[in-house]
Each structure stands twice: as structure tokens, then as C-alpha cells.
Point group: C2
Chain length 372, copies 2
């Protein structure tokens, strides 16, 4: 699994691309000049890493990733602070999760520290593509594909780790409506939805259509023994991502509670979910909030909304940070989720977004922000 | 969705490959000389089909199939009969299923008759690679990949349908042991396991390891209201495939019954499963068999085995046709599945295999076999 970061070879492009003006950026379409590639074979392990001009791959039609979905990916953002310094945000967490995804997909593991080192060198080389304007960032996509050239189903004997990047604009903070669905799931218990893996995306597009979806999971409530619908996570086509979901509530006893579903095989282990939980425990708990990772049903939400106990609801994702949810449609009717008529985001979401962004852009000196 | 099969352009290879001797064939490794490709864009629909020399694709690192799993595939076999005629086996069924898979993955639909026409022209051109020896065949892999060059998650605006092929040897008929698992599933209700889609394969490799797996699904038994473990299907690394599972039993009342699980979102809609059901209804039912598509639990199987009512168990797949199962390990112990000590396959499996092969190789004149 060792990757020798110090053996990095860099071949610079001879045709540098023009910089797309911030106002014209479209998600996923203005790639930077270069890409980082590291080849792996079962016989020799990881080859020397290379940075090359961004270019097409030449892939045999029988290649593993084209046949059987041997694939894992990550999404992370890189920021330029006020002094022009480049900052990664918890890159070790992305690499840790990517290694877990790779293990689940029978792809090779890699040493995470070396890849963080390589990411730093890559984004430094692409520095001119990182926007300086607040809210903008460089989206970095590490990807691993199985490259074995056989139609046998089995662990790949060769793979390619590669990293590409493009600048992105901030996501809108317009409050969103979600439609709850129980007929379509990304996967099931024992499945691989907690992993960043291509197959978890494509099957979501058709059932979700172009709307925003809240995924429910029917299961037996262990105490009463009846079937309930647990709220899992959300899939959103507008924002191109899966989101974890947080509910800010008052309990029947009047306690303020911030709730999100526990992770497991059916819920993405979102990095932004982790950040919100950690910040909430550090900064909201002292203000009297109870922070809970627990199963939460759509029936409970509907009841809380009916009793005016829903303060606000928001989704979390790397791409959008905090996405306010204004309402959820389900078979029982429309659940209103809290923000007042004239505001798009409630105070908890606003505070979280502020805290996270001030760490990302280096306003606050914090160990999560890693200077290049 | 229209594809103009008559506009097919053929570019023949200038470097024909040597034919691999039958005895040296390894599954998925000896590709034929050519491939069939048809490009699609959302603006222009399907382009003219082409047969070109087998060659690498040039794919942008941001291509949809490499990022989000926009992919669907089929597996089918082509046979040479005693007179040297080429025979496809129910190709319209593969194309029908592939169209369903594509719809689930937001990939474009295609007219099935045209692609069957193109498949005929393709296998005719590759005739010299189709082995004449009984039991051998040409394995044909139609594949569709999303080729959009963007990291936005949304329906692909371009795609590539392509077909590659390689000769295969018969699969061994050695009776197999399966280990029942409940901790790993290919997907869940609402998921996409019924579809031939890459993501359904890669996540299976790690939990299954190199053993043969019987996938169970825990659910509530509607009458008694208790949780039971339904038998879904099997995944096998040795044979590189997902199999449907059939149980030949005697009921408590002494009735002979052939049972398999009903399809739905959690079970592959196997073509060989369909063939076995249709042949059983036509040829076994008149012999006093009851043919059932119904949910079947591991507890029922264990009880039937204990009471000596299990006659035989077999899996079905395009690659292997009939795979005899000798035993199933699960938390309750070892379930013996019927074949006598000195035989690998029971009489029902042997008969089915014989009927299917005699249709495939044209011994029996039957509408399922399509002459080229």
C-alpha cells in the first residue's frame, strides 16, 4: 500500500488553459491543466506518482471499471484564504473514507499520508485555478478505478488512482423542498451506500428524476414492534449530491435537540455530517442543546411539526456545506420544516455554515484547515 | 431510440488474431477480432452502427461511467450447431432486459430488433471464433456506458453501446457448496439488483471473498408476523456470476414441487431462470410437478432437509446453465441438498440442462434458438 510521494514526476502542460471567470463556472466542467495519476498492480504495488497534463485515458473495452463497477471516489474542496494561502479541509478524513470505500470494492489500499502530500503538490501546481473570491473553491475529485482487462468477476489485479479538479462557485442557500420516497433506496443493510462508490449514484438518478428526494427506510421499531419509516438521507439532483439530514427540534419536554441518523451500511458517512456533529457537541451543547445520533422516523417528524416543535431542518454535504430544507412531502401530507416566511436558513444552519466556512477559509485558526 | 441496422459500417482488422485452442480458453480473456459500437447523443439520437477492430477507447477522466456508474450490460451465448450454423439463444430477451436496465440507470433506450440484427452480423463476422465442440460457445457481452464529460450528477447526454465477445468452455458440473449470508446483499427492495448493472457486481466481491454465497433477506412473514430469512439468489466467484436458485422438494403432503423466489427489485431477472420455469411448466407439470414462484425461507429448507424432503437444489445462469448445489451452510448448521453420494447432479437438473442445451445447439427445433 506504500506510495512514494517523494518520487513524484511532474510533466507540465505546454498549453495552459484560460481561467474561466467566476461568474461563468458550471459544476464539473472547467477542468484544471493537470491530473495526478498513480498506477497499481497486484504484483508490483503502487508505481511512482505522476502529474501529467489533463488527458484522456486509453482503456480496453473489457476494463474492470467499464464492466463490473470497480470504482471508488471522493469529493473535497480546496480554498484560498485572504492572504492567498491554499488550504485543504480535513483531507485525512477523505483519504480515510476513500480507503474504506476501496476495501469494500476490492480495490487496493494506499497510505493516506502520502496521498495527502501528493494532493498538496497537485493543488499547489494548480494554484491559479483556485478562486480568491469568498465562497468559491477548487473542487478536487480523487477517483480509483479497476483497470484489469478481463471479464472474470474477481478482485482487480490492476488499478489507477487519479485526481482531477475544477473551480466551483458557492451553492445557493435557497431553502429546498424534499419529497420522501420509500420505493427507491440507494442500497440496503449490508449494501455499500455508506461508501463513495459510483454505483450509489447512477441508480438514484431515475427514481429521483429532477426532484430532491428524502430516502426513507421501513423497518421494525424494536419497542412497539410495528413498522415505521426511518429517515435516512437525501439525494438531490439540483446539487448533484447525497446529503445527510439534520433536524433541530424541541422535544416534548422542551429540550432543544439536534438529531441526525446514525451511519451504517445504508447511510453515507458524510464528512460534513461529522463536522456538524463535532461542532455541535463543542459549541451548541454548552448552550443547552442535546446532540443525538439516533434513528428518526418520518412519523416523529410529522408529529413534531404538527406540535410546532420543528425549529429547522438542513442537509449537509461537501459540495453545499449546509442546505436548508423548508418542507418535506410524504404520503401523510406536507411537513413544514421551520424557517420563517422571510428567511431561507434558520439560526442553527446559519451558525454552522459560518463556523465551517471561517475554518475552511482560514479566518479561524483551526486544526481542520491544512495549509499547503 | 431508433438504430438503423442497415447503415452498419464494417472496418475489418488487418491483424487477425490466432484462435486460442479450446483447451486453453480462460473466461473473459481471448477477445475476438472486432467490436460493435453505436454512439448516442441526446441531441442526435443513435449514430450509424460500426464494427471496428477490437481497440481501446479514449475516455476523458471525467467520463460518466468512470465517475457515477452509468452502465448496464448483458451476457449471452452464441452456439455453432452440428451443421456449422450459428445460433443465438433468445437474444430478444437479453435486449428486452438490457433496455430495462438502461432505463433504471438513466441510459438511452434502443430498438431491440435492430440490435438483434446487428448482433447477428457481428457474430457472423466473428464466426471463426465460435467453437464447434459441444459445450463450447461464444460469450457475447453487450455493454452500455454513459460517456458525458462532466462531474454533474444527472442523466447522461451521451452514451456508447458496444459489444465484445470471446469463446468460452463449458462450466464444470461439480456440485457446489454455498454459504448463506445475511450481512451482505447486492441491494434492497427499491434498489437495482434486478438489473444487469456493474455496481451490482463489484460490491459482491469483498463480502463473498472467493467462496460461493447464498444471499438471504430478512423480512416479516405476513401471516405469523415473525422475522424470517428468505432465500434470494446466489453469488459465485468461481463461476463469475449471480445465479437464481431452484429447489426441487416434496411438500409435507407428498407433492413434488419446483420452487424459486419471485423476481422483484432484489433478485436478478435471470434469463435461464425464465427458461427453467417455462420448460418446467411445459414438461414437468404434466409429470405431476407443481412449479412455484414463491418466497422461500432458509428455515423451510432446513426443515425439508431434516425431513428428507429435499430432492435437489440447483442454480441457473447464462454462463453455467445449471449448477448443482450439494449443501448450504448457515447459522443453523449444514443443510444437505440431495444429490446422492456418487452423483454430481440430480435428475431434474440433468433433464433441464439436457433440454436447454439441445435447444441451444439446435438438436431440437425450437423457437428459442435463432439461426443467423
Amino acid at each position: 500500500m506504500f506510495i512514494n510521494a517523494s518520487s513524484l514526476q511532474i510533466a507540465r502542460t505546454r498549453t495552459p488553459k484560460p481561467i474561466t471567470p467566476n461568474g461563468e463556472l458550471v459544476f464539473g466542467e472547467s477542468m484544471t491543466d493537470h491530473m495526478l495519476v498513480v498506477e497499481w498492480t497486484s504484483s508490483k504495488g503502487w508505481d511512482s506518482p505522476k502529474i501529467t497534463p489533463y488527458q484522456n485515458f486509453s482503456l480496453d473495452p473489457a476494463t474492470g471499471v467499464l464492466q463490473y463497477g470497480f470504482h471508488a471516489f471522493e469529493g473535497m474542496k480546496v480554498f484560498k484564504d485572504e492572504k492567498g494561502k491554499i488550504r485543504l479541509f480535513r483531507p485525512e478524513k477523505n483519504m480515510e473514507r476513500m480507503n474504506k470505500s476501496c476495501a469494500r470494492m476490492s480495490l487496493p489500499s494506499f497510505d493516506e499520508e502520502s496521498v495527502v502530500e501528493l494532493l498538496k503538490k497537485f493543488v499547489k501546481l494548480e494554484e491559479r485555478f483556485i478562486p480568491s473570491e469568498r465562497g468559491f473553491s477548487l473542487y478536487v475529485r480523487p477517483n480509483m478505478i479497476g483497470t484489469q482487462q478481463s471479464l472474470s468477476v474477481g478482485p482487480p489485479n490492476s488499478a489507477l488512482l487519479y485526481v482531477i479538479a475544477f473551480p466551483v462557485r458557492p451553492f445557493p442557500t435557497r431553502a429546498m423542498h424534499l419529497e420522501a420516497v420509500e420505493h427507491a433506496l440507494r442500497t440496503s443493510p449490508g449494501g455499500a451506500a455508506s461508501k463513495k462508490h459510483s454505483p450509489n449514484l447512477a441508480p438514484v438518478v431515475a427514481p429521483a428524476g429532477l426532484q430532491q428526494t428524502l430516502f426513507l427506510f421501513s423497518d421494525i421499531e424494536p419497542v412497539a414492534g410495528k413498522i415505521v419509516q426511518y429517515i435516512n438521507e437525501a439525494g438531490t439532483m439540483d446539487l448533484f449530491c447525497t446529503m445527510n439530514i439534520f433536524f433541530a427540534l424541541k422535544t416534548k419536554a422542551g429540550q432543544k435537540e439536534l438529531v441526525t441518523a446514525p451511519t451504517g451500511s445504508i447511510i453515507l458517512e458524510g464528512l460534513m455530517r461529522l463536522c456538524v456533529l463535532e461542532l455541535a457537541r463543542e459549541r451548541l451543547q454548552p448552550q443547552g442543546w442535546c446532540v443525538s445520533e439516533r434513528k428518526y422516523t418520518i412519523e416523529e417528524l410529522a408529529e413534531a411539526a404538527h406540535e410546532q416543535r420543528v425549529l429547522e431542518v438542513f442537509g449537509t454535504s461537501t459540495a453545499a456545506v449546509i442546505v436548508p430544507i423548508k418542507s418535506i412531502g410524504h404520503t401523510g401530507g406536507l411537513i413544514k420544516c421551520g424557517p420563517r416566511e422571510n428567511e431561507e436558513m434558520g439560526p442553527v444552519g446559519r451558525q454552522m455554515r459560518g463556523w465551517i466556512e471561517s475554518i475552511q477559509y482560514g479566518d479561524e485558526n483551526h486544526p481542520w484547515s491544512v495549509e499547503v
